[in-house]
Amino acid sequence: MLTRRTTLGLLASLPLAPRAFAQARLSYDLTAKPLADGIWMVEGATEYFSMENGGAIVNVTLMKGDSGLILFDTGSSRRYGEALASLARSLDIRGISAVVNTHHHPDHFFGNQVFADRPIHALGGTRQAALDEGEAFADNMYRLLGDWMRGTEVVPPSDVIAGGDLTLDGRDFLALPLGGHTGADLALMDRRTGTLVAGDLVFYNRAPTTPSADIPRWQQALEALQAEKPALVIPGHGPADPTGDSIIQTRDYLGWLDGTLRAGARSGLDMVELMETPLPDRFAGMGAQPQEYQRSVAHLFPGVEREELPRGN
C-alpha cells in the first residue's frame, strides 16, 4: 500500500528531484576577481546561453570611481543585474555610481533595468540598436532562459558618449568608438592602469559570435586595439589576458573563418557541408565550439556566397 509518506520518499529519491530544486532557486553565484588596484572582473562561463547557466556567460568589469564603482556591462537579466548590485555593495558600500554598455547584445545590457536611476553610457549606435532590436532579443532570451528572465525589461542606455578622453566618476579613460562585432562597439582604456575593457571585440578561448558582424571592420578594430598596447585586456568572454594573445587569437579566428567561408563558396559547397567541416585544432577547443562556428556559417555564408559566385545572367 502506498502511503503519502512512502510516495514522498520515492519522489525524493528520484535522481531528477535535486536538480529541479537547484534550478528552481535560480540564483546567480557571482564572484568578483581582483585584477589590479581597484579593478575587479566577474568572469562568465565560456558557453552559450542555457537554462543551466542562466545566461551568466559574459565578463563584467568593476572599477573604483570617486563616488562608487563604475560598472562595464550589466549581464543578461534583471536578476543578474540585482546580483551585480549586491556584489558591488560588498566591494564598496556606496555601490554602483556609473554604468557603461560596450554594445547592444542582450548579455551585455539586459541588467540595465536595475541601474536605471544612474547614468548608463554607450555609443549612439549602441543606444539606437538597443531601441531597434532590444524587444526581439528579449523574445529570444525568454525562450532560451525561461524563468531566469522573469521581470526583465529592455532599458536602453541613457547617455550617448563619443570617442576620445572621457572621465567617468572621476576616473580617466580613452574611449575607442569602434565596430565590427556589431555596428557600434565601445572599448575603454583605463588611463591609470592601462587596462582595456574590450567588450566583444575580443574573445579569449571562447569562440567569437557573429550575428551582427562585419569581419573586415572588426579586423580593423582589433588592429586599433593592438596599437594601444594595453597592459591587461579584459575580453567580452574568456579570461583576462596580460599578454595581448587574446587579440591575436581573435584576429586569427576571424581570418580563418572568413577564409573558410570564401573557399567553401568558391568550391560550390552548401551551408550544411560547411557546417560539417571539422575545426582546426587551435580553434576546436574554444568554448561554445563547434556550435558557434555553425552559427557563424548561418550568419555570414549567404552574403559571402553572393560576393564570390560569378553572375549567371
Partner: protein, 261 residues
Amino acid sequence: MFIRTAFAALIAVAGSAAVALDDPQTVLQDPMGSGMWNYHQKGLLGDPADIRFDDRVVLRAPDSAEDSLNVPLLVDATAIPDVKRIVISADYGPIPHILTYYPEQAEPKLALRFKIDQATAIRASVETQSGSWHIGSTYIDAAGGGCTAPANAYASDDWEEKLGEVHGRLWSASGRARLVVDHPMDTGLADGIPVFIIQDLSLQAEDGTPLARLELHEPVNEDPAFTFYFDAGALPASVKVKGRDNNGNRIRGVLSEGELN
C-alpha cells in the same frame, strides 16, 4: 474491477476505430512521433499504399535554426535506385510543402535553404519510378516566425532591379552546380504582401534537354540557393537556367565553369 477494465478496453477499441477513418491506407510508425505525418501522407503524397520510413534517405541540417529565414538542408537519396521525385516538407508550419525535386539526370541529392515557422519534423519523401515511397526525416528546433516576416528585399529600394539575378557556377570535376536566384519569395502570410514566388526552376543542356527540375513553394528562402549534384564529369561545359514566377517573370541564366569573382 474486471467490468471497468473491459469497458475501458471497449472504449479504446471504439476510439481507435473512429480515428482509423482518417488514417492513410498504410499506417506507419513515425520515428519523429510528430502527430502530423499521417495527415501529410494523405494530403501531400496522395495516400500511396507502397510507403515506408527508410534510413537510406538522409537529411542533413543543423539541430536548431539560427536564422528562421535561411535554414540550410541537404537531402541525400543516392542510396535509393531509380528516383523519380523528392517531396520536401515540414510537418508543422502554415505551408507544409517546401518543394518537389525531379532529379532527371542529376543525382537524387539536393542542398537548399528554407523558411521555418516553428520547431518541426522535416521530411524528404522519395518516390521511385515504380511508385514506391521512401521517407527520411530530421527535426529542427526554431524560435519561429520565418514564414510570416516580410522579405528583407524590401529594406532596400533596388530589389526590383535585382529580381531574377542569377549567381552560380559549375564544378565539373566534383559534379556540382550551384545556383542563387534573387527573388523575395513572399509567402502571402506577411500583412498586405501577396504571394510572389518562383514556381518552376530547371537546369537544361544547351539543346534544351532537362538535367534537373524543381517545383518551388512559399517556404523556400528569399533568394533561393541550391546545389545540384551530378556524376563527376557528367556536366556539360555550360548549363542553362530557366524559371518562372507566379507573376509571369521569366528567369534566364547560364552557368559555366568560369572565373570566380
